[in-house]
C-alpha cells in the first residue's frame, strides 16, 4: 500500500434537469493506492456510479481533478482520455453490457481491437487471442468461447465482462455494482473472482450498496450527501 495510483480531489458534478440543478457530487476527494481494493458504498442514487465514471475518465466533472499516476486525467485531450479508458482502466458494469452480436471471445477482445489498427491487430492477433483465451479459461469460461451472451447465465456474463475489462491488462479495474444483478451465490462467486484478481496485484475500485459485498475490500468508503465520509480507513 505504498504509492497513490488514482487521486481524486474536490470533484463536483451536478445535473441540470429543467429548472432545478441536482448536485450529485459536492467535492469528493479520494485516493486509491496501487494494489488496493476499495469499495465505495452508499445508498442508491447517492452518486456512486457518477463518481466511478469520473474516476475512470468516462465522464467529465464540473470541478475538481482526477490524477492518474500524477498526471491530470481531464487536463489532456479527448484522445488521451480515450486512450486511458482503453489501456489503463477496465470497467465492469452492473448490467454486464456485452455486445449481443459477438461471441464470448470476441466480446473479450473488443478492447484489444479498439486499441489496435488493422495492421497492428493482424500482427498481434495470435498473442491477443491467446491472452483472452487464458483469461476466459481462468474465469471458468474456457469451453464457452463461441457462445453468444444470450446463451449465458448472469454470472457467466459478468465473468465475460470482467474478462473484457482485463483484456488490455488495465492498471485499475472499476466495477459498478458487479453483483447487483445476481443472486447471492453467484454474487459470491464474482466477488471471489475480484478478490482473487486483487490478490494477484490488481487494483480494484468497486461500487456497491451491499455491506456484505463490500466486506471483501481492504477499505470501504461511504458516499453520502455528495461527499466521502471516511476517506482514510
Amino acid at each position: 500500500m505504498s504509492d497513490v495510483i488514482l487521486q481524486a480531489a474536490g470533484l463536483h458534478k451536478s445535473y441540470v434537469m429543467g429548472r432545478t440543478t441536482l448536485d450529485v457530487l459536492k467535492g469528493v476527494s479520494l485516493g486509491v493506492h496501487r494494489g488496493e481494493f476499495v469499495a465505495i458504498m452508499g445508498s442508491s442514487g447517492c452518486g456512486k456510479s457518477t463518481l466511478l465514471h469520473l474516476l475512470g475518465a468516462l465522464d467529465v466533472p464540473d470541478r475538481g481533478t482526477v490524477k492518474f499516476d500524477g498526471t491530470d486525467v481531464f487536463g489532456g485531450s479527448n484522445a488521451q482520455r480515450d486512450r486511458l479508458r482503453n489501456r489503463t482502466f477496465g470497467f465492469v458494469f452492473q448490467f454486464y453490457h456485452l455486445l449481443p452480436e459477438l461471441n464470448v471471445l470476441e466480446n473479450t477482445l473488443i478492447p484489444c481491437m479498439v486499441g489496435h489498427s488493422v495492421a497492428g491487430w493482424l500482427g498481434r492477433r495470435a498473442d491477443l487471442r491467446r491472452h483472452a483465451t487464458d483469461l476466459l479459461g481462468r474465469l471458468g469460461l474456457g469451453d464457452r468461447l463461441r457462445h453468444r451472451p444470450n446463451e449465458l447465465s448472469g454470472g457467466e456474463r459478468q465473468r465475460v465482462a470482467i474478462a473484457r475489462a482485463l483484456a488490455n491488462r488495465p492498471q485499475v479495474l472499476l466495477a459498478d455494482e458487479p453483483t447487483g444483478n445476481l443472486d447471492a451465490a453467484t454474487g459470491c462467486e464474482i466477488m471471489g473472482v475480484l478478490t482473487e484478481l486483487n490478490r494477484a496485484g490488481q487494483t480494484v475500485v468497486m461500487v456497491t450498496h451491499d455491506p456484505q459485498v463490500a466486506a471483501s475490500a481492504h477499505r470501504i468508503v461511504t458516499l453520502s450527501d455528495g461527499r466521502i465520509r471516511n476517506p482514510k480507513a
Binding site: D82, R83, R85, N86, F93, H97, E106, G120
Partner: protein, 544 residues
C-alpha cells in the same frame, strides 16, 4: 480494427441493413438501365442518321429539287482539294406516291426515292440493309428484269435458276454456320433458301404432296422485263416477335405498281395526259434501315427512271420572252467523305465552291431560287433537331431517375438512424473501452460504404444483365401479355422508330453510377454516424 470488425458483423447480423442494400441495389440498377437504354437510343439515332445520309447533304427542301447537280458533282470531284476528300457523291430524288400490290390489290402511301444503286451503296449504309442482296450477293438490280421462278429437280426439291443458286452458294461459303442455320426458310413455299420465290405452275406442288421421282421442271426467268424496285422491308414482310421477318405474301420478282406525282420546275402539277403517271416494277429486293418510319414507306427505284417519270429531266420551255432550257434536277445530293476528313470543315469548303458555282449559273435558269436555297449540311446538322430532342430526353429521364434514386438515400438515412438508435448501448460500450468519437462515426460511414458497394455492385450486375437481355424480356412480356389478352409490349417499334431496344451498357456509365451509389450511401450514413459519435457513454450505459 474494431471498426472493420463491427462494420462487417453488423452488416451480417442486422437484417434490416439488407433493406438499405436492396434499395441501393434497385436504384443503381434502375438508373443504369435507364441511362444505358437512353444512351443506346441516342447512339442508334446518330448511327442510323449517318448511315442513311452519308456525311454531307445538299438540298433545297423543295419537291422540284435543284438543277446543275451533276455539273457541280463533276467539278468538286475534280477539284484538287475537295476531290481528295470526297469518296463518293450521288444525286437522289425524294418524292411521294402510291404503291399498289396487284397480288392482293392493296395500296399504300409511299415515299419514292430515285437512287443510283451502286453510288448509293457507297455513300450510305443502304446496301447493308438489303435482304436478297445479302443471301444472293450480286443479284439485286434496279434495271429491267424478269421474275425468277422455282423449278423442281429430280429429287423433288424446288430449285432456283442457276445464277441465283450460284449466288446463294457463294454466300454460304463465306457465311458463318450459325448464320446459315438461321437464314429464314420461307413458310409459304418450301424452298430451302432464304426469301420467297414463286414456283412455276408445273413445278408447284401443294404441301404434303410427295414430289420425289416426278419429272423435273427447269427453273426459269418468267414474265416481261420490268424495272426493279427495292421496297422497305416492313411493307413487304411481316415482322415476327423474334425480330425476324417473314416474307409470306410477296415473292421476289412479283410486280408492284407505283403512281407518281410529277411537278414542273416552277412547282405546278404536270398536266400530262390523263391522271397521274403509273408504272409497273418488279420487287427486286427489300431494304431495312432499322428506322420503322422509313422501312414502312420507302420504295427505291432507278434515279434516271424516276427523274424521267417526274419530269425532272432536261427540258425546254417557251415563254413570252422567248424560251430556254430547263436543266435536269435532283432533290438531294449525298456525299460520303474519305475516312479522316472532318464533315464540318469539308462542308465549309464545299459551300464556298457552291456559292461561286451557282452565281455563275443563276442567270441561265428561270427558277433562280431553286439554286439559291440549296444548303449544304452535315448529317448531324440535318438531324440536329431530332438528335437534340433525344439528347434532351436522355438528360431529362436520367435526371428524373436520379432524383427518384435519392429516395434510396433517405431510406439509408432512416435505417441507419434506427440502427444507431437500437445500438446506442453497444456504441456506449465500445466508447467505454476507449473507442474515439471519430472511430465510432467511421464504423457507420464504412457501414454505409459497404451498403453502397454491395448494393451498388449487385445493382450494376443486375442492370448489365437486364440490359443485355432487355429485348428478350420485352418479348417475354409481350408473350405473357398475349396469354392474358393484355398489351404488355413496352417497346413498340412503330413508336420508337427502332425495332430493338438498345442493349449496351457503357463501361463509364456503369463506373460513374456505381461510384455515385457508393457516395450516396455514405452520405446517407453521415447523419447516423454523427449521432453515433455524439453518444455519451455514461448516458448509454446507465440502464439495462
Amino acid at each position: 480494427m474494431y471498426k472493420l470488425f463491427l462494420c462487417l458483423r453488423y452488416l451480417r447480423r442486422r437484417r434490416i441493413a439488407f433493406f438499405s442494400v436492396a434499395a441501393v441495389c434497385l436504384c443503381t440498377a434502375m438508373v443504369l438501365i435507364v441511362v444505358s437504354v437512353m444512351n443506346g437510343f441516342l447512339q442508334m439515332v446518330r448511327d442510323r442518321s449517318r448511315g442513311m445520309l452519308g456525311d454531307l447533304i445538299m438540298e433545297n427542301q423543295s419537291l422540284q429539287g435543284f438543277p446543275y447537280y451533276q455539273d457541280f458533282i463533276d467539278q468538286v470531284k475534280h477539284d484538287p482539294e475537295l476531290g481528295q476528300r470526297i469518296y463518293e457523291a450521288t444525286p437522289l430524288i425524294i418524292s411521294y406516291g402510291v404503291i399498289r400490290f396487284p397480288s392482293d390489290q392493296i395500296t399504300k402511301p409511299a415515299q419514292v426515292l430515285g437512287i443510283r444503286f451502286d453510288e448509293t451503296c457507297r455513300v450510305n449504309d443502304f446496301g447493308k440493309g438489303l435482304f436478297y442482296e445479302k443471301y444472293y450477293p450480286g443479284t439485286t438490280t434496279l434495271k429491267p428484269q424478269k421474275e425468277p421462278r422455282l423449278g423442281r429437280d429430280e429429287k423433288g426439291q424446288y430449285v432456283l435458276p442457276t445464277y441465283l443458286e450460284a449466288a446463294r452458294s457463294r454466300w454460304e461459303k463465306s457465311a458463318p454456320p450459325d448464320e446459315i442455320a438461321k437464314a429464314w426458310r420461307s413458310k409459304a413455299v418450301p424452298y430451302a433458301g432464304p426469301g420467297a420465290y414463286l414456283p412455276l405452275p408445273d413445278a408447284y406442288a401443294p404441301s404434303g404432296v410427295d414430289t420425289t421421282g416426278l419429272e423435273p421442271v427447269a427453273p426459269a426467268y418468267d414474265g416481261p422485263e420490268l424495272p426493279g424496285a427495292i421496297i422497305g422491308t416492313d411493307m413487304v414482310a411481316k415482322r415476327l416477335p423474334t425480330g425476324e421477318y417473314e416474307r409470306e405474301y410477296y415473292s421476289r420478282g412479283s410486280t408492284i405498281t407505283l403512281t407518281f406525282v410529277p411537278f414542273t420546275d416552277t412547282g405546278k402539277p404536270l398536266e400530262s395526259g390523263t391522271g397521274m403517271p403509273s408504272k409497273v416494277f418488279r420487287y427486286a429486293d427489300d431494304c431495312r434501315t432499322g428506322v420503322y418510319d422509313i422501312d414502312s414507306m420507302s420504295v427505291y427505284v432507278d434515279f434516271d427512271l424516276l427523274q424521267d417519270v417526274l419530269n425532272m429531266k432536261e427540258d425546254k420551255y417557251t415563254g413570252e420572252q422567248g424560251g430556254g432550257v430547263i436543266p435536269a434536277r435532283t432533290t438531294q445530293v449525298q456525299i460520303k467523305l474519305n475516312a479522316g476528313y472532318d464533315p464540318r470543315a469539308t462542308r465549309d469548303l464545299l459551300q464556298k465552291q457552291w456559292d461561286e458555282f451557282f452565281m455563275s449559273r443563276i442567270h441561265s435558269v428561270r427558277t433562280p431560287d431553286l439554286l439559291r436555297r440549296v444548303e449544304i449540311r452535315t448529317w448531324e446538322e440535318k438531324q440536329a433537331k431530332y438528335i437534340a430532342a433525344v439528347e434532351k430526353e436522355k438528360y431529362l429521364v436520367t435526371t428524373l431517375f436520379g432524383v427518384i434514386s435519392v429516395v434510396a438515400v433517405f431510406l439509408v438515412v432512416c435505417i441507419f438512424y434506427m440502427i444507431v438508435q437500437q445500438k446506442t448501448r453497444d456504441i456506449g460500450i465500445i466508447k467505454s473501452v476507449g473507442a474515439t468519437a471519430l472511430g465510432v462515426a467511421q464504423i457507420f460511414l464504412a457501414y454505409g460504404a459497404a451498403v453502397g458497394i454491395v448494393g451498388g455492385g449487385i445493382g450494376t450486375i443486375i442492370a448489365v444483365y437486364f440490359v443485355k437481355y432487355i429485348n428478350e424480356f420485352q418479348h417475354g412480356l409481350e408473350r405473357l401479355g398475349r396469354v392474358f389478352h393484355m398489351d404488355l409490349q413496352v417497346w413498340n417499334p412503330e413508336v420508337y422508330a427502332f425495332d430493338r431496344i438498345p442493349n449496351q451498357v457503357q463501361v463509364w456509365d456503369a463506373v460513374i453510377i456505381y461510384a455515385v451509389a457508393v457516395l450516396m450511401a455514405v452520405a446517407g450514413s453521415v447523419i447516423a454516424a454523427v449521432k453515433a459519435a455524439r453518444i455519451w457513454p455514461v448516458e448509454a450505459l446507465r440502464y439495462e
